[in-house]
Symmetry: C3
Subunit: 463 residues, 3 copies
Amino acid sequence: MLIHEDRLFPADPATRAVARELYQSACSLPIISPHGHTQAAWFAHNQPFPDPAKLFVQPDHYIYRMLYSQGVSMDDLEIGVENIQNPRRVWRLFASHYHLFRGTPTRLWLDFAFQQLFGLTERLSEKTSDLYFDTISEKLKTPEFLPRALYERFHMEVLATTDSPLDSLADHKAIRDSNWKARIIPTFRPDSVVDPEFAGFRQNITRLGELTGEDTATWPGYLNALRKSRERFKTLGATATDHGHPTANTANLSTEHAAKLFAKILSGNTDKAEQELFRAQMLTEMARMSVEDGLVMQIHPGSARNHNRKVYEKYGRDTGADIPTATNYVDGLRPLLDVAGNEPDLTIILFTLDETTYSRELAPLAGHYPCLRLGPPWWFHDSPEGMMRFREQATETAGFYNTVGFNDDTRAFLSIPARHDVARRIDCAFLARLVTEYRITEQEAFEVVHDLTYKLVKSAYRL
Amino acid sequence: MLIHEDRLFPADPATRAVARELYQSACSLPIISPHGHTQAAWFAHNQPFPDPAKLFVQPDHYIYRMLYSQGVSMDDLEIGVENIQNPRRVWRLFASHYHLFRGTPTRLWLDFAFQQLFGLTERLSEKTSDLYFDTISEKLKTPEFLPRALYERFHMEVLATTDSPLDSLADHKAIRDSNWKARIIPTFRPDSVVDPEFAGFRQNITRLGELTGEDTATWPGYLNALRKSRERFKTLGATATDHGHPTANTANLSTEHAAKLFAKILSGNTDKAEQELFRAQMLTEMARMSVEDGLVMQIHPGSARNHNRKVYEKYGRDTGADIPTATNYVDGLRPLLDVAGNEPDLTIILFTLDETTYSRELAPLAGHYPCLRLGPPWWFHDSPEGMMRFREQATETAGFYNTVGFNDDTRAFLSIPARHDVARRIDCAFLARLVTEYRITEQEAFEVVHDLTYKLVKSAYRL
Amino acid sequence: MLIHEDRLFPADPATRAVARELYQSACSLPIISPHGHTQAAWFAHNQPFPDPAKLFVQPDHYIYRMLYSQGVSMDDLEIGVENIQNPRRVWRLFASHYHLFRGTPTRLWLDFAFQQLFGLTERLSEKTSDLYFDTISEKLKTPEFLPRALYERFHMEVLATTDSPLDSLADHKAIRDSNWKARIIPTFRPDSVVDPEFAGFRQNITRLGELTGEDTATWPGYLNALRKSRERFKTLGATATDHGHPTANTANLSTEHAAKLFAKILSGNTDKAEQELFRAQMLTEMARMSVEDGLVMQIHPGSARNHNRKVYEKYGRDTGADIPTATNYVDGLRPLLDVAGNEPDLTIILFTLDETTYSRELAPLAGHYPCLRLGPPWWFHDSPEGMMRFREQATETAGFYNTVGFNDDTRAFLSIPARHDVARRIDCAFLARLVTEYRITEQEAFEVVHDLTYKLVKSAYRL
């Protein structure tokens, strides 16, 4: 077997016994996925997923960044190729390097999917490559593997996608208009129209004006256009926005100053500092709008995007070369918090790629400001050790109730159950230690694990 | 029962057995509290403590910052109100949110006090709120709960308070002049007269001159006034000074430059950089005076004070909105260490809110400079996980003997035994692991735990 | 006994059993030491090592920095004295302070050497000081303790030293020309000729020109001289270079700009920023040369050298007062990676003194760039807890196969087996946890521990 029923539970027998019991109470709760990068189109059209290479390898930067780091060519993996020429060859390349993933969460997620969904029980390797390819390919053609069937099989209660204000959201509308009763909702992600360094930024602003009937050449028109876009998302079920910025900087400029800066940004004649100031100001504007319209705000700062210039030039954005950077939340968020930090109805969920901020900055901030909550460990830290560090470093100051449960943040739909399973197991392992060390009672732990798995995510995201 | 006799010991039976034995040898040692924020007045006047809300909730920012973070209004908690109007209501508000503290040290401290001091055995909750309120209220009126009785019951050997150079120390004198044989001593904390950003700084300097008979309008007179103040503290038993600065920056200006800077600071016409430089210079001046008069120097850097502007404006300093910041000791302390780092009779105890510095900066510095020692985990890190991280990250480079035992740093007198108990248990847990992993012998561990609990604090603070 | 056969294995019986089995498979593998500071002269001349003080205390900054931190005078330890006057007295001073090393790796290394090499079984202390001194002194005179005999007894396969381009490498040549079949190889460490702040930098450049027959007063001549030096090292077996810089900064200047900067540097009329820029540019030049000649590049950034001014002035470089600093790899390495980050045949091994970069920067970088590998925990972090943190924080993103096994980085030849033993035990402890938590199988763990101990270091260093 690829996966063991006690996986990720501590070896100490007493602690493991508690963890197992806690997990029994949490494992069958529905999955709520309030933040991720699946495609509404899959569920609108409900077409079979393509071959294993296209499904598992091509979209998953966790996989191909590791392969690339060990000298596998991205061309051989057909990264960025629209129609994969030789999926079996790509799959073999992956299979023959599967040992590289030992000790990584990718291995845990994949083995879970391979065994639970496809019934595979021998480890992936060069030897079993074709067996895997054929087994998966065949299953993908069956009705049980259509997107909607999987959504139901995964016992999902909510699935949020991430969408641009320039997106028509037609797929979301199509799902709503169908008879299928699933809750798939968009998330308002405005990078393309608030980040001056985003490709096509100025055209995007123009397009935003066309879509909303606002004059986005002016500061008030631009803000109105954003308000209308958010409203449009809300009508399709959105409850949250998402903001991926290079830093946690926010600003609180006067209206006049902000309008001047916007004009300069639109002129294209700006430097890095002005672009950063504009992004910083836009976080505060988004917070103001959230106070008005109730959308929960998610801030994901601290990624140096497209760090590998050659890979970026050849394969484009999001190809595995984003690298975390040190992030300063204490000074960065201050202007925004000055404006809205004490607003009773505002919720801001903070994420980080800089684990040093858990105990130094994020837990102290979330343990004080009523608007702040801590998102789960993100990206490279969405892993057993990473999650454990988060609980160990954040809980003592922020408690459990300033956190918001798990989110999977994934493009890989088939990995969703595996990812939630890992999170639940690690939470149970952490709680089991608190129980065996008499820091909380077992009865409390049952309540907390239910909160961490189900209740907190629903309340934090207003679902 | 609220607390278990094996709490905080590792679950592994062999390790737990060693931890238990070590703890048996340490648990009845006297408490030495060389750094904290209790009030000498309590012991001078020996009046009953007021009601539970005034005693537990109002002065404890650990408690109300958590409640505030979850939407409880600080007005409803009557924070900052001199005479609480409705203590039972405040207590109920706290009681009904007690689940928020699961997994936090506050919960450990409170449960210890509730059970050990007040005999309560059912968990605090909305349901038990009145039981707690009535039980505690009644006990507080009894002679066993008067401050001096508690001091003795707690088996305290020394208790240091923290005091301004502008304080008359009349309460300390009164304790000395009474027949009560307790060692309650002041600590020289000069923020109000060395930090230009401190409220009333210039008036404070004038007042310092009046108190000491020195012309504090001049640099030499100002330094003399500080020397005399320190001497006054020493006559009342002080053995240490304490310095809370936003950064770890120190400076080593020429006398002429320092005098000019002081004049400019006094003029009030300075910028942030000059104010920071002045604070930096004053740390070095304090070190020079410590070389002269033998007072141990404590440096607590890295807190962004009053981060929440609105809370600060409404409720004032120290209301739970201080947030840690990244701190650079390597460059910051260099000027001071250039001056005094190799002085044989100087002791400087360093604290941090930035745990990343334990292994990177503080342990390497303390493991080399003869004057440097590491204070225990501070504030948000005064917690089971925080203490364990400190031992794991500092010991391998600094050893045990460059650390100084525990201090409770608390305003909450009733939590002192609980806090020392947690520290002793975690030290025993850490040492038990070293023993079971054959890194030290059990016999050595007994010696080390005695040193960590009793001997090192006495020698480091010269008590 | 001083050391226990199960030392450093987790106490949990199931985990310990797995660790023990893994260790059995790894403990007798040959030692490969690809990076260290032993002296080729020892093996060229094969003379007996001197007395215990000269052998253990004087060259080991781990030892005397700890003693100095606790008030022991460096003069009494005869640090920096060519011929120790009273080695027995120095040894006693060390012995009587041996308790300071409880909980440190130094203690583990020394106890291993004392017991395994010298048969001592009672702990070092004031009482046993003379027993130790006499026992060790006597053994050192026997043939079994000559350098070459120890090399063989240690079961070493490769031993790399670290050498200046200005070094004749005569000792390396002598070893090669002898009949002794051992692989002792130099490493190209160009600090003295690429760091403008290095003592005698300009004379060093002139000397480099003389040694290589190149005009090092010109930029192309200087680069050629470096190329020729590297070639000379290669002919004596070198497979790697080593670069110790204050930061991780690299640069990618135009040839013209670089030539101008070099001229300015040679003129001596430069500031700190230009000196830093020159070092940054030289890292990129070294990477270019590595692409050409295949030497593996090691980068060791982030040490503030000679932090204690008085100690430096009196006792010179490398006397225990180097302190780590926060290090930024993401921005720092970018210019170099822009030039050479995707070169298929380049290997750069990164080290750090800033553990916060493991999960935030180093693992994400090494988990993407094909040229990057992670060196083992360095210096203060070459310790049981430090190694465990490295595995816990780096593995989930970089995997095992972007790491390069262990290196001892030591001047203390007798500690080499002890250091490798600690590393193997910690790797086994880490892997045993992964096995008992069902994250990898035991069969995989056997393969991984062999890779970590033997295979990865050979392939990464091209040995």
